[in-house]
């Protein structure tokens, strides 16, 4: 079983709008797959199906060979699908450290009563989460802002906090929705290296939605192109870049 994720003929409707129209593709395990397309193509909608926020009107989604369509949204993290959000979705009043610790929520099972009494295993669990969170903060160079609430931080820093928070759950599949939004050219290049490093260090699979073509083309092994909810092309970056329909629909309008 080489595909970690199989998207099978997924369609999503919002009233009259068809946001996804029979989209199918596989995500190979351990790879970085770029998902691109013009604004409104349905990329975020697909992510929201993968985290079970939206329900497809037809089709199926298999993760590790099993359908996820009857799984509760809150179970997705424990199952191994982690994500970041296109428009930041941090816990604004919590500190950076606490945001990352919330990311590790699904890695343990402590209940209200044992927390209220702070029983020994809760203490042990807290220490474990503390160490894990600090390791991630160091990994992503966030230790200097660990004590600050996320609300006032620069956009790029907040994006990195989201990444740390997503990694805290030890996902097998990481969904990144426009992680380079708002960054300058050099920062984008740095970010590309970081994603590769994360993938190699932590042996996970990355599904990357991004408008920075240079980033997608540089780090993805495979690219899937959506337009108006349909898949119009799929292949290596070179193949996709040469595809006339893609050039017409997307790259053509951009350059």
């Amino acid at each position: 079983m080489s595909s970690i994720l199989e998207v099978r003929d997924v369609s999503v409707n919002f009233g009259g709008i068809v946001a996804l129209d029979g989209v199918s593709f596989d995500v190979p395990r351990g790879g970085i797959l770029g998902l691109i397309g013009p604004n409104g193509a349905g990329k975020t909608t697909l992510f929201n199906c993968l985290s079970r926020l939206y329900v497809p009107s037809s089709g199926d989604i298999l993760f590790d060979g099993k359908s996820i369509l009857s799984t509760s949204p809150y179970r997705m993290a424990r199952l191994g699908i982690g994500r970041t959000f296109q428009n930041l979705a941090l816990f604004s009043r919590l500190t950076v450290l606490d945001n990352v610790k919330v990311g590790a929520h699904c890695s343990s099972h402590t209940d209200f009563l044992s927390n209220a009494l702070r029983l020994p295993w809760v203490k042990r669990d807290e220490r474990r989460m503390e160490d894990k969170a600090w390791a991630l903060l160091e990994y992503l160079e966030l230790t200097d802002v660990a004590h600050l609430p996320t609300a006032g931080l620069p956009f790029g820093t907040q994006k990195r906090v989201e990444l740390a928070r997503a990694l805290a759950a030890d996902p097998k599949l990481l969904l990144l929705d426009e992680p380079a939004g708002g960054l300058n050219h050099e920062e984008v290049e740095e970010l590309g290296k970081l994603f590769r490093k994360i993938r190699d260090d932590r042996q996970l699979t990355v599904l990357l939605v991004e408008h920075h073509m240079s980033l997608v083309m540089a780090i993805s092994e495979q690219v899937v192109v959506l337009n108006f909810g349909r898949k119009i092309a799929e292949g290596t970056p070179a193949q996709v870049r040469a595809d006339p329909e893609v050039v017409h629909a997307y790259l053509g309008t951009k350059h």
């Binding site: 979705a89 919330v102 929520h105 809760v122 807290e126």
Partner: protein, 339 residues
């Protein structure tokens, strides 16, 4: 050296997130406990009784704070949980002659269940709609307590009279002093548990739901379960407060638990400090003493004075009393550093 710096950075972050208390905070707690222990020795029995009520309302305010301040759910219905706790205690003591201290865990469990069950359907409601649903709960409470078929238990309009417990072990202190110390210990235990609950994994989950429910769910938090359980815990705190209030006042009657009580608890939370554990104590003080002060200022129109005092509080302390103290302290230390 590097390890030392790391430890320092970790310490600062732990203090900032409230997982640990600073030396100053520990000193503050020690002083507050000392003051709490000494107060009844210095004042009359009636004042001691009033301070017992401060502790009772401080518990209720903490209950509401856990729900609203930390989890972002509104409630105008906490008078109902206060009433359930009070009647549980009254009925147990009056009908079954059960000792007063057993009524607290019973009131807590009954309210935990009631709050959880109310929290389940309330999951579908947010913001103003939740405020409306809880408002309905609170205005339905007094008529329910007066209901004929329940009056064998509730005493109908007359309510239930209960006797004040004596100090145990032949202690030579007044009933009022004993009840004060008893309430004080219960308060310490409940506050300690709340602090534990809020500084660990569950507390972070509650606050995460408040700040961003969608992201909280994506991080693996069972938001529906957590929100209902939080409603239950909040009701538990308020119910135990209700039971202790009933024992202190020696009387429960339907009209003590009107919508106005819900508003009073809400006012206590806002003026004390939303989302603050120590602020809840100030909330209790506000609930008991601000109406008193208002009446002393004007016997003719105490509520007009009360309203004015509230507006002044909100104007000068928009983050509540605890926020005001924190900001004042921050300004002081900054000035000292600048010198």
């Amino acid at each position: 050296m590097d390890a030392q710096l790391g430890a320092k950075v970790r310490e600062i972050a732990a203090l900032a997130s409230g997982a640990k208390l600073s030396r100053l905070q520990w000193i503050g707690i020690a002083v507050a406990i000392a003051v709490g222990l000494i107060v009844p020795l210095l004042v009359s029995d009636y004042r001691t009784f009033q301070f017992t009520l401060v502790l009772v309302y401080a518990m209720a305010v903490l209950g509401l704070n856990i729900l609203t301040g930390f989890n972002g759910q509104f409630s105008l219905g906490h008078s109902a949980f206060f009433a359930i706790g009070a009647y549980t205690a009254a009925i147990m003591m009056d009908h079954w002659e059960i000792a007063y201290y057993w009524t607290l865990p019973a009131a807590g469990v009954v309210c935990l269940i009631a709050g959880f069950l109310f929290g389940l359907p309330a999951l579908r409601l947010e913001g103003l709609y939740l405020a409306l649903a809880t408002f309905a709960l609170s205005i339905a409470t007094p008529p329910l307590l007066k209901y004929d078929h329940l009056s064998e238990w509730t005493g109908g309009v007359q309510g239930v009279v209960i006797t004040k417990p004596d100090a145990p072990f032949g202690l030579q202190i007044s009933q009022d002093n004993w009840l004060y110390y008893f309430t004080f210990v219960v308060l310490l235990v409940l506050y300690f548990c709340a602090w534990n609950l809020l500084r660990g994994r569950t507390g972070r989950a509650l606050k995460a739901i408040r700040d961003n429910p969608i992201a909280a769910q994506a991080m693996g938090i069972n938001t529906a379960l957590y929100k209902s359980l939080t409603f239950g815990v909040s009701a538990l705190y308020t119910g135990v407060a209700g039971a202790l209030g009933a024992i202190a006042i020696q009387f429960v009657a339907p009209d003590s638990f009107t919508f106005f009580l819900s508003v009073a608890i809400l006012v206590g939370m806002v003026i004390g400090g939303i989302g603050s554990i120590p602020g809840s104590i100030f909330g209790g003080i506000v609930i008991v003493f601000v109406p008193n002060v208002a009446e002393q200022i004007s016997k003719a129109a105490p509520w007009a004075v009360y309203g004015t005092l509230l507006i002044l509080c909100m104007y000068f302390m928009p983050l509540g009393i605890w926020g005001f103290i924190r900001m004042g302290y921050a300004r002081l230390t900054r000035r000292r550093k600048a010198d």
